[in-house]
């Protein structure tokens, strides 16, 4: 009995406390509304006062002037900056314009369009003279890329980002690429960050740079040849660890799919859309028919990078890194063929202590790559039997039998940029790429009537590229570049490209 009564009392008390809670909540809400209204009134009054003060200041200025220069009163001109005259204070209740970027919406949106016009003495421009997937690709006009960027916090735990790219190839075909789309952790302790989705492999300095971050019209030869026209990017996951050292020191490790366009030197070899120099033969004069699929962790593309940076002086910064990427490739018919790519890079930048809009500055970037590529054995007899074009011995005419071997390619590029005055940059780039002569290149072959000896996808070439860039503002850019190309066995070519770029929407992120 007693306990029952107590329960009833307790329940009643609880109910009444609930009612009190509700009342408190209601009062809190009211208070909030009143506060907002009060703040608004204060702001409006402040604005009124400001306007009056300005009016007063203006009138005072006019009278003093009239005194000095007998009635020479200049009319209000356009110098009243349009922004200045539209002075309004922030008002929380007014409906604000829909703002893209910088906190007005849940996502920052930007669009960057990059176009080129020009020509070359070479005719084999797309994929041959110009190795990069977004280089100028023909005499005349090129849409190098129109890139749509989105970035924002997903929730308290993740950051999300996507880069979608549209372009037109030399045939006018539309290309759509999912450059990047990932989420990244924001709450991991001790400098760890995990990124997962469609990501760029952490390799060197150039891989992962978008078109609008390039210092030149086109991609460096060694990067485009050794990593593929689109670079190394694929679905996968990356862990980054910013080490607790006194200087910048960061380790990246990633695990990606090893097939497709984003892994051309790996299992993506067969999807490699660039045809070197007009002949359709893939690397090593043999098709990539040796795709063994994925059955173990070693069948993925593994990439790692370690980077360190120190500030040499108040004005100078040095950043250095080493990278490696390892994975299977599908060259030939048989064998467990692998590709290994190693890279080392260095970036140095000097910037004036009185830099205005980032100028003046001098920067130097050097990146060297080395690739070991296992070519699988391949017998052309079957193709000959099936009546399809086959690689034949130049002397006997018999179908070629290519044995397995490992070939080495290497190269380096150096970019020097000098921002000599606000908005103006003079640049100079030296490109060099070469490959050690493989056994398969020591014979004379015939393919569809064309004699072949050296593999032009691996032969030596170099290029010199002076350019001049002008930024009318931070959001637009014009660039003129000349390329002096020297290809082994193909001679010299001259190219001239004019590039223009626009940037809309959210502020493009400044990167180092």
């Amino acid at each position: 009995m007693l306990s029952g009564g107590l329960t009833i009392v307790a329940q009643a008390a609880e109910r009444s406390s609930e009612a009190t809670q509700d009342r408190i909540r209601l009062l809190e809400q009211r208070l909030q509304i009143l506060q907002t209204q009060f703040e608004q009134t204060v702001r409006e009054q402040q604005q009124k006062i400001q306007e009056l003060e300005q009016e007063l200041a203006r009138l005072r200025g006019e009278t003093s002037q009239q005194g000095a220069a007998a009635g020479q009163n200049p009319p209000e001109t356009f110098f009243e900056s349009p922004v200045h005259s539209r002075q309004t204070s922030w008002n929380p209740t007014q409906s604000l314009p829909w703002r893209l970027g910088q906190g007005g919406t849940y996502v920052d949106v930007g669009l960057v369009g990059t176009f080129a016009a020009g020509g070359s003495t070479a005719r084999d421009i797309e994929g041959s003279l110009q190795l990069g997937g977004h280089d100028p690709n023909q005499r005349g006009f090129t849409v190098q890329g129109v890139e749509w960027n989105l970035i924002g916090a997903v929730d308290p735990y993740f950051l999300g980002s996507a880069n979608l790219l549209y372009a037109l190839d030399a045939e006018g075909e539309s290309e759509f690429e999912l450059e990047e789309a990932w989420l990244q952790t924001t709450q991991l302790p001790a400098g760890w960050q995990i990124r997962a989705g469609q990501i760029y492999a952490p390799f060197g300095r150039f891989n992962g740079r978008h078109l609008h971050q390039w210092g030149f019209v086109d991609a460096p030869l060694v990067v485009a040849r050794l990593l593929g026209p689109d670079g190394l990017r694929n679905p996968g996951v990356q862990a980054a660890w910013l080490m607790p050292t006194a200087f910048y020191s960061e380790l990246f490790l990633s695990l990606l799919n090893s097939g497709g366009h984003g892994a051309a030197p790996f299992r993506g070899a067969d999807s490699d859309h660039h045809k070197e120099d007009g002949h359709p033969l893939p690397l090593g004069f043999r098709p990539a028919e040796n795709d063994r699929g994925v059955s173990a962790l070693t069948d993925f593309l593994w990439a790692a990078r370690y980077a360190v940076s120190v500030d040499l002086t108040e004005e100078q910064t040095l950043l250095m890194g080493v990278s490696a990427a390892v994975g299977p490739n599908s060259s030939g018919m048989t064998g467990s063929t692998q590709t290994k790519v190693f890279g080392a890079d260095l970036y140095w930048k000097w910037r004036s202590p009185r830099a205005h809009a980032g100028f003046p500055f001098v920067s130097l970037q050097i990146e060297a790559l080395l690739r070991k590529y296992d070519l699988g054995a391949y017998d052309w007899t079957e193709a000959a039997g099936a009546g399809t074009p086959y690689l034949a011995d130049g002397l006997s005419g018999a179908p070629a039998v290519l044995h397995a071997e490992t070939v080495t390619d290497y190269g380096v590029y150096t970019e020097l940029l000098y921002g000599f005055r606000r908005g103006w940059i003079a640049g100079f780039r030296c490109d060099f790429v070469a490959g050690s002569k493989g056994d398969y290149e020591r014979a004379l072959w015939i393919f569809e009537g064309t004699p072949l000896s050296r593999d032009s996808a691996r032969s030596r070439r170099w290029r010199l590229s002076p350019n001049l860039t002008w930024y009318p503002s931070e959001y637009s850019r014009l660039r003129l570049q000349y390329n002096y190309d020297q290809r082994q066995g193909m001679g010299t070519d001259h190219s001239l490209w004019l590039q223009w770029e626009l940037s809309l929407g959210a502020h493009a992120a400044h990167q180092f």
Binding site: R43, Q47, Q50, E53, L56, A57, R58, R60, G61, E62, S64, A68, A69, Q72, P74, T77, F79, E80, S81, V83, H84, Q87, T88, S89, W90, P97, R99, Q102, G103, G104, A153, L159, T186, Q187, P189, G191, Q193, L242, P244, A246, F247, E250, S309, V310, D311, T317, L319, P353, R354, A355, H356, A357, G358, S473, Y475, H507, A509, H510, Q511, F512
Partner: protein
């Protein structure tokens, strides 16, 4: 043997997860030197303050050096203006620093413009008007009254992060505000004789100062914010200056002196080196109030010095 194992495991964990032991002082990273100076004034000896942008460089364009990631990764608090001035370089740094304590919405994220009435908020975002910040003109600390609001934010956050220092932070805050209240009437008195005077500045970074001290700083060497001066525009500025008798051109350390000198030569006006960042000019290093004092003296000097206005100074 067992002991050595544990030792190495501990070393490994320390290396992988960082040192969990409590730091003696709060590490505060400020984006610009003015905010750093205010953080020092409030934090005193209990905080260590680092400033990312150098006081002499353009705060709109700061190189996001990798060393900044190291500083941000360790910071207990991040102090930034919040009005878009540093957005282009701060956001990518924050996204890569991997420090949850200073991300937006974290306790250590101090957005100083909260509560400040920002001027020149554009009704319409349109970059044909130049690089106009969506939140309004971000140079609000040129008005000392706004520094009161900022030190308030700083003290609140420092108290939250380091409760043991409450008394010190509040005391420092009071001391700063009292010093400000002592100085402000004196500054206003010094500039009162020049009420309504018109000045030219390179960039539109002085509307808050102008409003506070009844000056008119509405003629700029940049045709639009962030757009470099053109000859045609400078010609119009010269004509306008002559017509309205403008005698002084405000130039900050990083701005193009040559354009300002050209205009000064053509008009007989004086170049007045100014800065909004303590340490941007010699004699401004001591702190925020000292900087304001310097500015008031420099501008009063330029406006009162009629003799020198006629002799062209181009040094």
């Amino acid at each position: 043997m067992h002991g050595t194992w544990l030792f190495w495991i501990r070393i490994l964990l320390l290396l992988l997860l960082g040192d969990p032991s409590v730091q003696a002082r709060l590490l505060v990273v400020a984006t610009t030197a003015d905010l750093a100076a205010l953080a020092r004034a409030v934090g005193g000896d209990r905080v260590e303050v680092l400033s990312l942008a150098r006081p002499t460089e353009d705060p709109h364009f700061v190189d996001p050096r990798p060393s900044y990631l190291v500083q941000l990764a360790r910071a207990d608090a991040l102090v930034h203006g919040g009005a878009g001035l540093e957005a282009a370089w701060l956001t990518p740094l924050l996204n890569r620093a991997g420090n949850a304590r200073i991300l937006p919405a974290a306790r250590g994220h101090i957005r100083c413009c909260e509560g400040v009435t920002l001027l020149e908020v554009p009704e319409k975002l349109d970059r044909s008007q130049g690089d106009v910040h969506a939140a309004g003109n971000p140079h609000y600390l040129a008005d000392p009254q706004n520094a009161r609001i900022v030190v308030h934010h700083l003290a609140d956050t420092f108290v939250e992060l380091d409760f043991a220092g409450t008394e010190i932070y509040r005391k420092n805050q009071r001391a700063f505000v009292e010093a400000l209240e002592r100085s402000l009437p004196a500054w206003e008195a010094r500039l009162r004789p020049f009420a309504g005077a018109r000045l030219v500045s390179y960039h539109n970074s002085w509307p808050y100062f102008a409003l506070r001290f009844n000056l008119r700083i509405d003629l700029f060497l940049e045709p639009k914010p962030g757009i470099p001066p053109s000859a045609a525009h400078l010609g119009r500025v010269v004509a306008e200056m002559k017509a309205s008798g403008v005698r002084a051109i405000l130039v900050e350390p990083y701005q193009d002196r040559r354009a300002a000198e050209t205009v000064a030569r053509a008009t007989g006006a004086r170049l007045v080196p100014v800065t909004q960042y303590p340490g941007g000019l010699k004699g401004t290093e001591a702190g925020y109030l000292e900087l304001m004092d310097y500015l008031v003296r420099a501008i009063t000097g330029a406006l009162s010095d009629r003799e020198q206005a006629s002799t062209i100074s181009t040094r």
